[in-house]
Amino acid sequence: MMARLVEHLCSELRLLAGAVDTLAWTLWPKGPPPMMAAAALPVPVQYNVEQISGSLLEDLKEEGFLWAVPKSRRSRERRLTRKFGLENKHKKMLPYRKLLTCDDCGHVHEPGRLCPNCYGENKKITQAMQEAMVTMQGLNPVEYEAVPVFKGEKVNTGDGFHEGKRIFEVPTERPKWFSNRLTVKSNVTTSSDTTVVKPTNLA
């Protein structure tokens, strides 16, 4: 078994050696340069198996093939141009100045886009409202407009409707900025004898 394997390996190596020889001949017809000498060494066919395999493999392991390497020094000018581009033509990393200040909160935002701060707050309350609305509607057919009632707001309805709109209760307080009138505090409940606080008209 072992002997057959070694024999097989030997024949393979012989083929490889022949191939390398041919390659070297095609590349350098007048004879290979000294660094290729090891690879293109003509292998005598009659050699002992162990000797051939050992020597060839070790040679490859020690020296190997030498691939392409830089032939000349890259000048400083050239190196800097490659790194950073041409002085007059390249795109420099400049601070982004196309920004606007939000009229409501003072954070910066890109023109034509929502303000990240305002939108973040809006998103939070919108998600809470959507969750409440979807829970209220459930799998029943949706037949009426929905109107939010926030925590602390009182609406006296027997059937869960306000002016023909279905009420859904949001577990958070109404944010102060989400109000129709700036002069009225919307998220403050008056004393208990005032039973009805109308939800302000929204959006």
């Binding site: 886009r113 959507q130 949706v142 037949e143 959006a203």
Partner: protein
């Protein structure tokens, strides 16, 4: 002659639509693309405001507009419209919403029924442009505020100051008389 009649059959979509649809390469092919868009349209009708990637939001917007326009024009006793609603809305309680809530809400509208806002780019991010697609007239807080309003605090104060000034002038006039 014929063209005019055909045009009247289909309600006009009130938003700009690309001449060519987006392909949205999908392992299930065009059918998978439509499944994806149905999901988005259903979500929009259900939640009334959704955040999406720009390409998907813009593509779904046209389909939602068309669906609402058909519901307004033909009502719920028109078989093709009902089939469309059944196809596009995967959650069937929303078919009621389309005809009983949205069609009523937008009956007298002269503009588009949806609005597409550009969401802020978060740094550092993946730089996929995000948008917020919403149905108009939803119960949520508005995303974009009006440019100017008489409810603004400085406008209220200025108005009060103006009223004070007028009162003062009137009193002075009375005294002099």
């Amino acid at each position: 002659m014929n063209q005019a009649e055909i045009r009247k059959l289909i309600p006009a979509v009130r938003v700009a639509i690309n001449a060519k649809h987006r392909k949205f390469s999908n392992p299930k092919g065009p059918e998978g693309r439509l499944t994806m868009l149905r999901k988005t349209v259903t979500e929009l009708v259900k939640l009334e405001r959704v955040e999406l990637n720009y390409q998907r939001g813009d593509e779904a917007r046209g389909y939602a507009e068309r669906l609402i326009a058909m519901a307004i024009k033909h009502g719920d006793r028109h078989i093709p419209t009902m089939e469309m609603a059944n196809y596009w809305l995967t959650e069937k309680q929303l078919v009621h919403k389309l005809f009983k809530v949205l069609a009523v809400r937008y009956k007298d509208h002269t503009e588009s029924y949806t609005k597409l806002h550009k969401a802020p780019n978060i740094y550092p991010g993946f730089y996929r442009e995000r948008v917020v697609l919403e149905l108009k007239g939803n119960p949520f807080p508005p995303l974009e505020k009006k440019n100017s309003s008489h409810n603004w605090i400085h406008n209220i104060l200025l108005e009060e100051a103006h009223q004070d000034y007028i009162r003062k002038k009137l009193k002075e006039g009375e005294r002099s008389n």
